[in-house]
Amino acid sequence: MNRRSLTPGEIVRNVLLLLLALLALFPVYFSLVNSLKSPVQYAQNLLNFPATLHPENYSLAWVQIRGPLLNSVVVTLSSVLATVVFAASSAYALALIDFPGRRLLFGLVFALFLVPDFLTLIPLYVQIKALTLPSNYLAIILPTVAAGQPFAILVLYAAFRAMPRDMLEAARLDGAGHWALLRSIVLPLSLPILVSVSIIRLVPVWNDFLLPSLVLDEVHRTVPVALVGFQGGGAATGSTPNYGALMASYVLSALPLVVLFLFLMRSYVQGVTSGGVKA
């Protein structure tokens, strides 16, 4: 470290940031240490690292959370994948094909930014309840894909617009159809932005609570819905839950996102900072 970088101001800034970062990460610490405590240890001290560990909390939590975790993974992955595939195909047509009704369609997609979720929540619930679906998963996947379209189409439209036109024209002269063009040129070239859109969309889908709590049955419920259900329980009685098992289930429910962000942190940061996009 060179001398210039250690001015008093620089030290103060780093210390302040460290303090704020620790506070922001406090829930992570809190759930980790308490997930290893017995009810007595929890009652004695909420903040220390326990002297004797109670990993059995995790097996208690795992029994309860593994079903919802699997459901969340299935729902989130399929809905994000379908969101990006459908949005890419629409964005391709809107950005690179000239056809009658293009402006109208564009307007219809973006008008949806003005429709707030709470307005459609209840009618959507009534509508889905009346629908006979081959799988209960679809009750949340389909509306979530629909809800993701405006944002995903907006970002991909901008990316496809910025594509080098001469390359596309050359491919068309060589006889490539729209489908081939999309698959072998447009999509590979925009892979980074596709990843960014996916991961930005993934976080709210993973965290979604309201609609899933209304339309998913007991067997198919996702992590957020299941966690709310554990509140009284956590394998204990009445008003005092088994906090250790509860915290262990919190830790387990965060693991898939932890793994994902280990690899895709950079795409997330770049995606959010690359434009004034609405998460």
């Binding site: 210039r4 970062a21 829930p27 997609v109 429709v115 709470f118 209840i122 009618p123 309201l210 965060a254």
Partner: protein, 295 residues
């Protein structure tokens, strides 16, 4: 020979195929429910049977309901305090990081503040629910620093329940807002800072006279998103307090939800939803207007 528009329509067929899945999904899962909401607001509807038209009755009821008045007041307090929490902490952190020396150090700090994204939002909510309990973290900390008299069952006391929910989530550094502000600071041309330095705009003065005015588009967006988000937000009262004790944490959006799911009064619920949407539309319109005046 077919007319020109017809031929163009026929030649456009691949495009229609490309947009078909999105259009069908959005039509059925976004446009139809929005239409249902807006038309059923004028009816008496139980969610199952044929609605009967009642005109403006639902709206009259919503506007005169004293519970709705309390809920609107709660939402107002929430929006104002929520705005401060949405703007100040992310701005502070963005400025701190931006003023560090070295790109690599800035990148490391920025990434560290993104890490809490991995905590599912419901987990954060429920964990704060345990902090607020009588045997929870907040009371323990108060007791250990000699402020035992302040101990409280925070969510069961009508005078503290609403504020407990609003101030849940310390230190309130929203990742998305932080990144937005940081990107905004980075987009300011270095020449502007150089020129500012000549005029004595350094340290606090630079933040006040240069950064804040130049960050106006980002700050405006954050303010708008925060206000609109908080007008319609109701997950924490739904999960942690069910709107109680009494109606002390009830907000209009929660009232809308309960009216439909608990009481089965779907028509009335839709009227509340439409009123809320009007608020959102008016706020959005106002902010556009303000942005244009300034520009």
């Amino acid at each position: 020979m077919p007319s020109r528009p017809l031929r163009r329509l026929r030649e456009g067929w691949p495009a229609y195929l490309f947009v078909l899945p999105s259009v069908l999904l959005m039509a059925y899962f976004s446009y139809v429910p929005a239409y249902t909401a807006m038309t059923r607001a004028f009816t008496d509807w139980d969610g199952l049977n044929v609605p009967t038209f009642t005109g403006l009755e639902n709206f009259q009821r919503a506007l005169t309901d004293p519970v709705m008045g309390q809920a609107a007041l709660n939402a107002g307090i929430w929006v104002v305090l929520g705005l401060v929490l949405a703007v100040l902490p992310p701005l502070l952190v963005a400025e701190l990081i931006f003023n560090l020396r070295g790109q690599r150090r800035q990148y490391a700090w920025r990434s560290l503040f993104v890490v809490p994204v991995v905590v599912p939002s419901l987990v954060l909510l429920l964990m704060w629910g345990t902090f607020f309990r009588s045997d929870g973290l907040i009371n323990t900390v108060l007791g250990s620093v000699g402020l035992g008299a302040w101990r409280h069952d925070w969510l069961s006391d009508p005078s503290t329940a609403l504020y407990s929910l609003i101030f849940l989530g310390f230190p309130y550094i929203d990742v998305f807002f932080l990144l937005l502000l940081y990107a905004g600071l980075q987009n300011i041309a270095p020449e502007v800072f150089e020129a500012g330095k000549m005029d004595g705009a350094v340290g606090w003065r630079r933040v006040l006279y240069l950064d804040l005015p130049l960050l106006r588009p980002q700050l405006g967006l954050i303010a708008l998103l925060s206000v609109i988000g908080n007008v319609q937000y109701f997950i924490s009262p739904l999960v942690l307090t069910s709107g109680g004790p009494g109606y002390s944490t009830t907000v209009p959006a929660l009232l809308m939800y309960n009216t439909a799911t608990r009481n089965g009064e779907y028509g009335y619920a839709m009227a509340i939803a439409v009123l809320l949407m009007l608020v959102v539309v008016v706020l959005t319109g106002l902010s556009r207007l303000v942005a244009r005046e300034r520009a």
